[in-house]
């Protein structure tokens, strides 16, 4: 069972520079475990120590946010497309400037 997974630039160090890789699994959790067996360390960048999705990571199955599909329990089917992206606002650069102005950090809040 093959699922195509698109990897964002900042995580390609784990995939030898590959923009997209193939994995298998009937849930997102299983897929990430499978990917980690081939690209060691990748899973750890996406999942927190508490076992949830990292706040600044968005994962989409067929363009839909997995947080609304059961998160790590989201069901996957052969031929699905999975996209991993860092969370940025539309005006991300403007935001970075704003954060600096307000004296806030761009690091995780909460």
């Amino acid at each position: 069972m093959a699922i195509e997974v698109r990897i964002p630039t900042i995580l390609r160090t784990y995939t030898g520079g590959a923009k997209s890789v193939e994995g298998a699994g009937d849930t997102l959790s299983a897929l990430l475990t499978d990917l980690d067996s081939k690209y060691s360390g990748l899973r750890g960048r996406l999942i927190t120590e508490q076992g949830g999705l990292h706040r600044f990571v968005n994962i989409y199955v067929n363009d839909e946010d997995v947080r609304f599909l059961g998160s790590l329990d989201a069901k996957l089917n052969d031929g699905d497309n999975v996209t991993i992206l860092p969370a940025v606002a539309g005006g991300a650069f403007g935001f970075a400037a704003a954060a600096a102005l307000l004296g806030r950090s761009t690091a995780p809040v909460s």
Binding site: T83, P86, F93, G94, A98
Partner: protein
């Protein structure tokens, strides 16, 4: 009533129009599935951001944060800046915008025309430089006022008090609301209002998926979720790529005569997905979605003509929503 005391009073109360040609056909005897577009390009400066700009300025005035002659500083990739520039001009403030250099030239021209000053931050790998620049600006001008649309509750409140009630008044049978996700103000405010009033309503986000340059962070911890965002307001969230957004933007004008910006194409893409799902499930649906702005500011991208691949290339690396 369509007479107003000033341009500021003419913001909001935009038309909601049916899209009979883009709405999916249903089998005979099946409940209707209809798409409705809320034409936010009919606001004074041509975008939905007029609502938020007006609310944020008025509330800052009321709270005593803004006084006549003050300077407003705002990071914006375009429409909010244009709205704020108009409001600032009419209310007697100076506006300085910090914006990325990869926005369309129409936006910067409009801002300057309304009297705003622009400080550019670099498009590529430059958030660190933008931060450095912003810090420098803040240190030099501690008296400037930032409304900060990403974290200002009055941004969402504008939609809770205006966009939401307008939608329910014009479409009491609404089942789905679809809008773009940027500052998240539109979805949070409108979504909260509709959820309180319409049991079972779906609130759907369409998030633009840009070219890689926009995601060029050094590490995940540089990511950002707007302070206004509350995932519990939404029921679904779609990521829409440039090609789908362009395709739908062209369909809007070709099929329904609505000339919109690319974020509205992305929103239509998500609206069509839920509409087609309703058809498949045989349920009635009145899907209202937002036309965030008109297409005028994006003509120079060239993405309204040529092949889809050419259009995608033209928009690559641009903040098209």
């Amino acid at each position: 009533m369509s007479r107003y005391e000033s341009l500021l009073d003419a913001a909001g109360d935009t038309p909601l129009v049916g899209l009979p040609r883009l709405s999916p056909a249903v089998p005979e005897g099946a409940p209707p599935v209809r798409l409705w577009a809320k034409l936010e390009d009919r606001n004074p400066t041509g975008s939905i951001k007029d609502r938020a700009a007006l609310f944020m300025v008025r509330e800052a005035e009321r709270a005593g944060r803004l006084r006549p002659g003050d300077t407003i500083l705002e990071p914006t990739s375009g429409n909010t800046g244009i709205s704020l520039a108009m409001v600032a001009k009419l209310r007697g403030y100076r506006l300085v915008c910090v914006m990325p250099e990869n926005v369309s030239t129409e936006r910067t021209q409009l801002l300057r025309m309304y009297g705003a000053e622009i400080i550019f931050s670099p498009a590529a790998g430059g958030s660190n430089q933008a931060v450095a620049k912003a810090k420098q600006i803040a240190a030099e001008h501690p008296d400037w006022v930032m409304l900060f649309q990403y974290g200002n509750p009055d941004n969402a409140r504008a939609h809770y008090e205006t966009t939401g009630p307008e939608l329910l008044r014009d479409l009491p049978t609404i089942t789905h609301f679809v809008a773009g996700l940027g500052t998240t103000g539109t979805l949070m405010g409108t979504g909260r209002y509709l959820r309180e009033k319409v049991p079972g309503i779906e609130v759907i986000a369409a998030e633009p998926r840009y070219g890689e340059i926009v995601y060029g962070l050094r590490n995940i911890d540089e990511g950002y979720v707007p302070e206004l965002y509350d995932a519990s307001v939404l029921t679904r969230r779609f990521s829409v790529g440039t090609q789908d957004a362009v395709l739908r933007t062209r369909q809007l004008v070709e099929v329904e005569g609505i000339f919109a910006g690319f974020s509205s194409g992305a929103i239509l893409h998500a609206a069509l997905a839920v509409a087609h799902q309703a058809v498949k499930e045989g349920i009635r649906a009145d899907v209202a979605f937002v036309i965030a702005d008109g297409g005028w500011k994006y003509l120079s991208t060239g993405a309204y003509g040529g092949t889809l691949a050419e259009a995608e290339e033209a928009l690559d690396g641009q903040l098209w929503a």
